[in-house]
């Protein structure tokens, strides 16, 4: 499948130091790259259909054929060259991706800094039997992904990367293979569909998509205005209902020694592995309409990762048991203390939604009245703690406490008593220090 080439034909410097096998991407990749010029043309045609038609009418057959004769090989050559000059290699400490024909670019991704590994297979890639592999590290670019690899190769590479990141010896890393996984949650399609029907955003976007074009038609009688307004609205409505169903279909969360595995998708299959100790915050979201059914959505933040959903919908008890597995030693606090006494004067009505609970392992802050969001931050993940107090809050003896985490998310406990907040600030610093001592090492299979 993969054409292997030794590193000696490339620049000598790197290859001399370490005899690393550089590999190329799957041979189907050029076709993906060759799309780019055609996509630009297609985009132009869609953007300006009248202009495109005029231009086409003016062209004679010979010109058209000549143009095609130039364009198609050029696109093919571009695709081929960009494939030919892209190499990747796994060394003991890093994944190296070397790309670029004119502008050389080498990405060195340190394996112990890996925050998550994603393998995704869009529909067309599934047909071709290839997959895209992406390593999430803090500050990683979109360019730092391996697209495309053969499906089996992608799986083997993922297992190897995770084994090396976990701290297995380099000789054994290739043989360790895939760690066994145990399913924790599977979201049945019926439940997913019902939860989407009970989501306000779905109905809101649908109503907007129906009402706005109708009103416009009645007032302006202009087909173009209606089309221009209706298409994006219909697009959002589709994306928030059908699109979400398709994306979140067959959502499975499983557990393995390599960490958490999240699999989902009907057409585009996506697989994410989050190694242990990488989750910065977990949010339990409880929309108003879901409360009767006792459902919650669980979101998570991993530094450098795009995905933020852990479970799209699940009964609360199951969700809490999964959270307990994701954040070790953490139980979702049942009792939370309400905001301090003067809070009603700072934030009428909504003050009731703000609650806080701090246990030995986790900082839990809840906010929102209709849609409740409970954010959990393990003390070990706290980057800094801040206390803020405005003049009106001081008048009522209140203060806010902010906890900053590495995924660029700040969790805020609003409207606490000023003395409580000040005491808490000192304690929190102490707690996050002791929490870090107990945390797992970056290479989670090593014991030191």
């Amino acid at each position: 499948m993969t054409s292997r080439d030794r590193a000696e034909d490339a620049e000598g410097g790197i290859s001399e130091r370490s005899p690393v096998t550089e590999r190329r991407l799957h041979p189907v990749t050029p076709f993906r790259r060759a799309w780019a010029p055609l996509a630009v043309l297609a985009g132009w045609a869609v953007h300006d259909p009248n202009g495109a038609q005029e231009q086409l009418a003016r062209l004679t057959d010979t010109v058209l054929l000549l143009g095609l004769a130039v364009l198609v090989p050029a696109a093919g050559l571009y695709g081929f060259l960009s494939w030919w000059f892209t190499h990747y290699a796994v060394t003991d400490t890093e994944l190296r991706i070397r790309t670029g024909l004119l502008f050389r670019r080498t990405a060195h991704i340190r394996l112990e800094r890996v925050q998550a590994v994603d393998v995704s297979r869009p529909l067309l890639a599934r047909v071709a039997g290839v997959a895209r592999l992406r390593i999430d590290v803090v500050g990683a670019d979109d360019k730092d992904e391996l697209a495309y690899l053969g499906e089996r190769e992608a799986r083997a590479l993922r297992a190897e990367l995770l084994a090396r990141a976990a701290g297995f010896a380099p000789e054994t890393a290739r043989e360790v293979g895939e760690a066994p996984a145990r399913a924790l949650v599977h979201v049945p399609p019926r439940e997913l569909a019902r939860s989407l029907l009970l989501t306000g955003a779905t109905w809101g976007s649908l109503c907007a998509a129906l009402i706005v074009p109708t009103v416009l038609w009645l007032t302006t009688q202009n087909v173009w205005t209606v089309l221009v307004s209706a298409l994006p609205l219909l697009g959002t409505a589709g994306a928030s209902s059908v699109g979400r169903f398709v994306a979140e279909f067959d959502w499975t969360v499983s557990e393995s020694p390599d960490g958490l595995r999240i699999d989902h998708g009907l057409l585009d299959r996506t697989h994410e592995t989050v190694p242990p100790g990488r989750v910065q915050t977990v949010r339990i979201v409880e929309p108003l309409l879901w409360r009767r059914a006792g459902w919650v959505r669980v979101e998570l933040d991993v530094a450098g990762s795009a995905n933020s959903v852990l479970i799209p919908v699940a009964p609360r008890a199951i969700a809490e048991s999964v959270v307990a597995r994701v954040l070790p030693d953490v139980t979702v606090p049942a009792e939370m203390s309400p905001a301090a006494r003067g809070a009603r004067w700072c934030l009428p009505v909504w003050w009731r939604g703000h609650r806080l609970a701090v246990t030995g392992t986790v900082f839990a802050a809840r906010s929102g009245l209709l849609c409740r969001r409970l954010s959990l931050v393990p003390h070990a993940k706290v980057q800094s703690v801040r206390l803020t107090q405005g003049p009106w809050e001081r008048r009522w003896g209140l203060a806010d406490v902010h906890v900053d985490t590495g995924a660029d998310k700040t969790v805020t406990a609003r409207l606490r008593g000023a003395e409580e907040a000040a005491r808490f600030l000192g304690e929190q610093a102490e707690r996050s220090r002791t929490g870090r001592r107990a945390a797992l090492p970056d290479r989670w299979m090593t014991t030191d």
Binding site: V138, A303, K381, S384, V385, R386, L387, D408, R433
Partner: protein, 167 residues
């Protein structure tokens, strides 16, 4: 809490030793205030005075009065800034009306930055800024003595290495 003196660096863990900023910072800020007020007052006095009559030149008093108020505010704001080095973390407290207190554990520091612009250099000042993995962490200490800023930087990086922790 007048200036950043060098004695007493080893603060006890429970009792933070607070330090204030250099008076030079207040002088720079007040100087800037005076310069800008002067420009504004001339503009506010000349334009209406020439266009609408000499009596309108009194408009120049408006920037002057607000500047007097800002003069006081700057002083209060300068006094409110203070920082303390504890055994394991750095405390920064600031603000009069909108108060903010930040705690940054040394082990969380990713980068310590010392900057000093031309005006700051002229007045012998430097700014130390701490970055953690969270962009929201806003830990900046302006108006330090350059020697104190370098001492702080060295101490922070040293402690940061000793207590380093990943994400």
């Amino acid at each position: 809490m007048e200036t950043g003196s060098l004695e007493g660096t080893g603060a006890a863990a429970d009792q933070p030793v607070w330090r204030g900023l250099r008076p030079g910072l207040l002088r720079v800020r007040r100087l800037l205030l005076v310069v800008w007020t002067g420009v504004l007052a001339v503009a506010a006095g000349l334009l209406p005075g020439l266009l609408a009559g000499p009596a309108w030149a009194l408009c120049a008093l408006l920037p002057a009065v607000s500047a007097a108020w800002c003069w006081r505010l700057l002083g209060r704001n300068w006094r409110s800034w203070r920082y303390a080095e504890r055994a394991d973390d750095l405390l920064i407290s600031r603000g009069v009306l909108w108060r903010e207190e930040t705690v940054v554990p040394y082990g969380r520091m990713q980068l310590v930055e010392v900057t000093s612009g031309p005006l700051e250099r002229r007045f012998g000042l430097a700014t130390v800024q701490l970055h953690t993995a969270a962009a929201a962490t806003d830990a900046t200490i302006p108006g330090l003595d350059p020697a104190e800023a370098e001492r702080l930087r060295d101490r922070l990086t040293e402690l940061g290495q000793a207590r380093s922790a990943g994400l």
